[in-house]
C-alpha cells in the first residue's frame, strides 16, 4: 500500500499566505482585501511587499465582497480574506448578485472553516459553506487538504477566469502532498490504490482518510483513497471509475452531510452507477467550543470514524 509522509505539521492558511505572496511577485493584477483579520489570514507578507495592492476594508465583509466585484472591472484579480463564515453566509447575496451572477473574477479565500477553528465555537464554525457556495451557478468550490496544496491552489486560481471559493483551515495539520505538485482545478488526486472500498475525502479529512486506509490495511481491507479538492466542478469520472472497481464508497468532509461533498458524490453515483455510500460528515448540527481534536472526535470526523464507515459500507455491498 502506498503511504505518505508528513513533512511536518503546518496550517493550510499559511499555505494561502505563501501562495498570495508569490502571486504578489508574479502577477501585477492580483490585489488583496481583508476585513480586520490580516494576521489570521497570513496576509502580512503580501501587504508588506505590495501595500498599494492591499485594501483594508475594516469589519465590513459585505462591503468587501462588492468592492472586490468592482475591482475586477478594470482587470484586477481580487483575493478576499476572512473567516469562512464571514466569507459566505454573512455575505451571500453580495456574492450571489455582484460576483456569481455578474460572473466576476473574484477569489473568495476563506480560512478557519469547519470545526477545527476550535474554541471560538459555533458562531464562527461554519459547516454549511460548501453547500452555500456550490449552489451558486458558475462558482468553483475548492477545499484544500494541506499547506502545499493550499499554496498551489492559491496560485492556480489566479489563472482561472471566474469566481472561486477557496476553503482552508486554522490548525497545523499534516503536510504530505509533494511540494512541487501542480494544482489542477477539478482533477481529483488518486492517493492510494485499493479494491474493497473507495474513500473520497476533502480538506482536513484527506489525511484522516490516509490514516484510515492504513488501519484498514492492517485488518486486511484494501481501501482506495481519492482527494477531491475540487467539489465543484466534481471529477465524476474519478469517482465512477473507482467505485466500478470497489463497489462501495465513503465520503469524508468537515461539513454538514446536508449540502456537502457527500451529496454531490451521491448525485453523480445515483445517476451513473448507484453504489452503497456512507457519509463521514456532521449530522445537521452546529459545532461548539473545544480543541480541534476533541471536536473532530465528538462529531465523528477522524480516521476512526472513516474506518467504521468503511466497515459498514462494505457489508452493504
Amino acid at each position: 500500500m502506498k503511504t505518505y509522509e508528513n513533512q511536518g505539521n503546518n496550517d493550510t492558511r499559511s499555505g494561502f499566505g505563501a501562495g498570495l505572496t508569490e502571486l504578489g511577485r508574479t502577477n501585477p493584477n492580483v490585489v488583496a482585501l481583508c476585513a480586520d483579520l490580516i494576521g489570521s489570514l497570513k496576509m502580512d507578507q503580501f501587504i508588506e511587499e505590495n501595500p498599494e495592492r492591499f485594501f483594508q476594508i475594516g469589519i465590513a465583509e459585505a462591503n468587501m465582497m462588492s468592492i472586490a466585484a468592482g475591482l475586477t472591472i478594470g482587470g484586477k484579480i481580487p483575493f478576499t480574506g476572512t473567516f469562512a463564515n464571514f466569507s459566505t453566509g454573512r455575505v451571500y447575496d453580495q456574492i450571489r448578485q455582484s460576483i456569481a451572477y455578474s460572473d466576476k473574477n473574484v477569489k473568495i479565500c476563506a480560512s478557519h472553516a469547519g470545526l477545527t477553528l476550535g474554541e471560538d465555537g459555533a458562531t464562527h464554525q461554519i459547516l454549511e459553506d460548501i453547500g452555500l457556495m456550490k449552489m451558486l451557478p458558475g462558482m468553483t468550490v475548492i477545499n484544500t487538504c494541506d499547506y502545499n496544496q493550499t499554496k498551489a491552489a492559491t496560485i492556480a486560481i489566479a489563472e482561472h477566469k471566474g469566481p472561486v471559493y477557496l476553503r482552508f483551515g486554522r490548525p497545523k495539520v499534516a503536510n504530505f502532498t509533494p511540494v512541487d505538485q501542480k494544482f489542477e482545478i477539478g482533477k481529483a488526486l488518486h492517493l492510494v490504490d485499493g479494491t474493497d472500498v473507495t474513500i473520497v475525502a476533502t480538506g482536513h479529512l484527506v489525511w484522516e482518510a490516509l490514516e484510515a486506509a492504513k488501519a484498514l490495511n492492517e485488518k486486511g481491507i484494501s481501501a482506495e483513497v481519492i482527494d477531491i479538492h475540487t467539489i465543484k466542478p466534481l471529477d465524476a469520472k474519478a469517482i465512477i471509475d473507482s467505485v466500478s472497481k470497489t463497489k462501495c464508497i465513503v465520503t469524508a468532509e468537515e461539513h454538514n452531510h446536508l449540502g456537502g461533498l457527500g451529496e454531490s458524490v451521491a448525485r453523480v453515483l445515483s445517476q451513473h452507477n448507484p453504489t452503497p455510500q456512507e457519509f463521514v460528515a456532521t449530522n445537521d448540527t452546529f459545532g461548539e467550543s473545544g480543541t480541534p481534536a476533541q471536536l473532530m472526535e465528538k462529531y465523528g470526523l477522524n480516521a476512526d470514524a472513516i474506518v467504521k464507515a468503511c466497515e459498514k459500507v462494505i457489508k452493504r455491498k
Binding site: S40, E119, G121, E288
Partner: protein
C-alpha cells in the same frame, strides 16, 4: 445599593476571573473584556433593574444584549458573580460540552443569555426588536446593549441606527465601547470612522459621552443621566471611552491582547496587580 469601593472590589475579582479563564484554555479575548469590566459590574449590580432568576422573555425587568460577543469572559464572570449560574462553572470556559461557549449562545441554555453573538454587527438590531417587544407588551423597562467601536464598521449597525431614530425607539440605551482598538490595530489605522458622536447625532440619536469609562462613579453618573433621557422620542447612545486591557499594566492601551491569552508568568503578574477580593472560583 453597593458603594463605589464594593463595586471596585467586584471589578478586581472580575479581572482575575477574566485572566484565569482565558489563561486556562489559552484562548479568548481579555483586552476588550478588561476594558469593559467596570461597565459590566456597574450595569448588573446597580444600573439595571433585574428580577431574580432568569426567563427568556424578561418582562418586568431591564434587559442587556452583548453585540461584541467576543468579550464573553467579562460577561460570564459578571453573570456568575451576580448569581445567574455557579461561579465554579467559569472553570469550563471554552471547554468541550460547556455552557460557556467561546462566544455567548442560547444553544446550551446558559442563564442570562438571550441571543447568540460573535458574528459582529447584529446585536443592535436584536436589541431594537426586544425594545419594540417591550413597548408592545406595555413593559416600561429598558433595553441596554453594548457594541465595539470596530464593530461599528459593519453596515448593519447603520441600518439599525437609522431605524431606531426613524421609529422613535426611545427605550434603548446603546453603549459603544470606544477603546480605539480592533484586531489589526487602532480603529484609525484600520478604517478611520471620524466622529462617532456626530454620526449618531446626524442619525437622530441623543448622544452622551462618558470620558472616564473605567471609572465607576463616572459610569454610574453617566448611565443615570442616559436613563433620564429615555422615553423622550429618541434612542440614546452612550460613548464609553475605555482603555483596552484596563487594570493589567502590560495589556493596556494596545490591541495586542484583543484575542490573546497570557502565559503563566504574565498571568502571575496580572493577578498580583489584582489581589483576590470576593474569592476566586
Amino acid at each position: 445599593m453597593a458603594n463605589t469601593q464594593q463595586l471596585e472590589d467586584i471589578t478586581t475579582q472580575v479581572r482575575r476571573d477574566i485572566l484565569r479563564m482565558v489563561h486556562k484554555v489559552n484562548s479568548g479575548h481579555p483586552g476588550g473584556s478588561l476594558g469593559c469590566a467596570e461597565f459590566f459590574v456597574s450595569l448588573y449590580n446597580e444600573i439595571m433593574d433585574r428580577k431574580e432568576g432568569f426567563d427568556m422573555d424578561g418582562i418586568g425587568e431591564d434587559l442587556f444584549f452583548l453585540s461584541n460577543g467576543h468579550i464573553s469572559p467579562v460577561y460570564y464572570s459578571v453573570l456568575a458573580r451576580v448569581g445567574y449560574f455557579p461561579i465554579e462553572e467559569l472553570n469550563t470556559f471554552r471547554l468541550l460540552n460547556s455552557r460557556l461557549q467561546g462566544h455567548p449562545t442560547t444553544h446550551e441554555g446558559l442563564p442570562g443569555i438571550r441571543i447568540a453573538s460573535g458574528s459582529l454587527g447584529q446585536g443592535l438590531s436584536v436589541a431594537l426588536g426586544a425594545a419594540q417587544a417591550k413597548k408592545l407588551n406595555g413593559c416600561n423597562h429598558l433595553i441596554y446593549s453594548l457594541h465595539g467601536d470596530g464593530e461599528l464598521q459593519e453596515g448593519q449597525n447603520w441600518e439599525a441606527i437609522m431605524y431606531a431614530a426613524g421609529k422613535n425607539v426611545d427605550n434603548i440605551i446603546a453603549t459603544i465601547d470606544l477603546n480605539g482598538q480592533q484586531i489589526d490595530g487602532s480603529t484609525d489605522t484600520v478604517l478611520p470612522m471620524g466622529s462617532i458622536k456626530d454620526k449618531f447625532e446626524a442619525f437622530g440619536w441623543t448622544v452622551l459621552e462618558i470620558e472616564k469609562g473605567n471609572n465607576i462613579d463616572a459610569i454610574l453618573k453617566g448611565m443615570a443621566e442616559a436613563k433620564s433621557l429615555t422615553g423622550k422620542g429618541k434612542p440614546v447612545c452612550v460613548l464609553l471611552k475605555t482603555v483596552m486591557g484596563n487594570g493589567i499594566d502590560f495589556m493596556m492601551h494596545t490591541h495586542a491582547w484583543h484575542g490573546k491569552a497570557p502565559n503563566d508568568e504574565q498571568l502571575a503578574i496580572g493577578l498580583a496587580q489584582n489581589p483576590e477580593t470576593l474569592g476566586d472560583y
